[in-house]
């Protein structure tokens, strides 16, 4: 069954990816060493909010349903019950996906004004379309764009930035898979838009304290570019219709 569903998907994905890359006027690439990124909002018809975020070779599709009735015993009396599902490109979700789901869910709960929707349920599904490095940061960006597309009230925006520390001591933002393999540490941060503080941190490999502070500073400066891109995307979406 999975084979039949997979067959039409690549061509549709290639079509919209090409369309997005053609029309996206992205701001990145020039000053802050992030790979070229682009996004498409509202591409799926059934979910309340959907977004596809492409960062270099990595692309993730996010779909948000809600606020709707919470399922069964998940209902919380004073705020919204958020559920995040992350599906890998190949295979069934495993322990690594569950760990990432927990990171995403708790990051979203920090920015979402959950108390406005008590006893409701919110379900965010993320599908990894292509993994070319910096996957967790791409998931974070796709999730934020999905929330914006759904029009949910948020305390602040957030963005995901990944930094890799290469063996020669240099710092690379938004590493590709090759750079991640060579790196001795890969740090992923979620930075919020209000005060540029660290919402989420996840590290792979070991580093010193000074290196981590450098990575946080680099991530905070790269976050400005991404937030500007969010504003431009939303402006473009609402100016068309």
């Amino acid at each position: 069954m999975r084979e039949r569903a997979a067959a039409p998907l690549p061509s549709r994905r290639d079509q919209w990816e090409a369309a997005v890359l053609r029309e996206a006027k992205m701001a990145a690439g020039s000053g802050c060493c992030l790979r070229p990124f682009s996004c498409e909002l509202g591409l799926l018809s059934r979910p309340d909010g959907s977004a596809a975020f492409l960062q270099g070779d990595t692309s993730v599709l996010a779909a948000l349903y809600g606020p709707a009735e919470a399922k069964g015993n998940r209902e919380l009396p004073e705020r919204v019950a958020l559920e995040v599902l992350l599906r890998p490109k190949v295979g069934l979700p495993g322990v690594g996906e569950r760990s990432r789901e927990q990171l995403l869910r708790r990051t979203l709960e920090a920015v979402l004004l959950g108390r406005l929707h008590p006893r409701c349920g919110l379900s965010l599904s993320l599908q990894v379309l292509r993994d070319g490095g910096s996957l967790l940061s791409c998931c974070l960006n796709a999730a934020c764009m999905g929330l914006l597309d759904a029009g949910l009230p948020l305390a602040s925006l957030f963005c995901g930035v990944a930094c890799a520390l290469l063996p020669d001591g240099s710092l690379v933002l938004d590493p590709s898979s090759q750079q991640e393999k060579e790196a001795r540490a890969v740090l992923t941060f979620a930075i919020d838009s209000a005060e540029k503080k660290v919402l989420m941190a996840s590290t792979k490999g070991s580093c010193s304290m000074e290196e981590m502070q450098q990575c946080i500073a680099a991530a905070q400066s790269a976050a400005d570019t991404i937030f500007q891109f969010y504003r431009d995307s939303i402006r473009r979406r609402y100016s068309k219709s």
Partner: protein
Amino acid sequence: MEAGHGPESQAAVGGSLGASLCASGASWPCAGHLVVGCTLRRLVPGRCGRAKACLAGSGGELRTVEPLEYYRRFLKENCRPDGRELGEFRTTTVNIGSITTADGSALVKFGNTTVICGVKAELATPTEDSANKGYIVPNVELPSLCSPRFRSGPPGEEAQAASQFIADVIENSQIIEKEDLCIANGKLVWVLYCDIICMDYDGNLLDASAFALLAALKNVQLPSVTINEETGLSEVNFKQKNPLMIRKHPVATSFAIFDDTLLIVDPNAEEEDLATGTVTVVTDEEDRLCSVHKPGGSPLTGAKLQDCISRAITRQREVKKLIDKVINSIKPK
């Protein structure tokens, strides 16, 4: 494949049960002190004088009706209801080698939080692309006996996230070189199955699990294995055991964030529920950061994270001293 039973292992059990040591955590920033002895519960509530003052009054009803307000009263005085300072750990107890059927085991208690880790070693063939690397497979289990919040059945999100965290700590800190687990290149390697089971959940699961894992790995004794040239089969010699070569000693320190500003160390279950976020920092003896795990929650500045890391480094020294003391106290066979 079971570890050998015999007079040697009995002596080890006797020796190690007496080798539980307690250390009460230090108040930030002074140095900690170690207490040698075998008492399990040393924590006296209301030890902090200011806490006693806060408890006077309508403590009981406020705690059930408005737990957050109750906690805020204590936090204003820089202490907590159980008498600890904000930077103080609960009494840490570790007991090594109590499971005779496992190749290495450790029981760790942080106040009421009890975690037991058992390590079993088995033989396996390595993969083609890493022919000289063994495997370490951690698994954290939160059975329904440890807390009413966990139901029996397939592992929930918290257990899976904890398993992934422990796997990341092992990977990032290089606690054991996988090449050390190789017996014959391309043919035979050791697989270490590390099962971490929580018996009593009172908060701070990640710290206790990481500590239990480290203590259990230090306790592992692997039998020597040779490959018979003629038959090509492996021969295990249970009489001759070697300990594992532990290269680094990563120690996890967890913090709970209250009201977006206050950081408290070693939260118990009640504090974790009331907290607005958590941070876990794993450091090793060279002051390198093996992991900074902040799963969402209140945002923190770089400076606040720096404070957490400094506290974690102090804690790493205390824990390393404790583990060394316990390992050295086990009677040599």
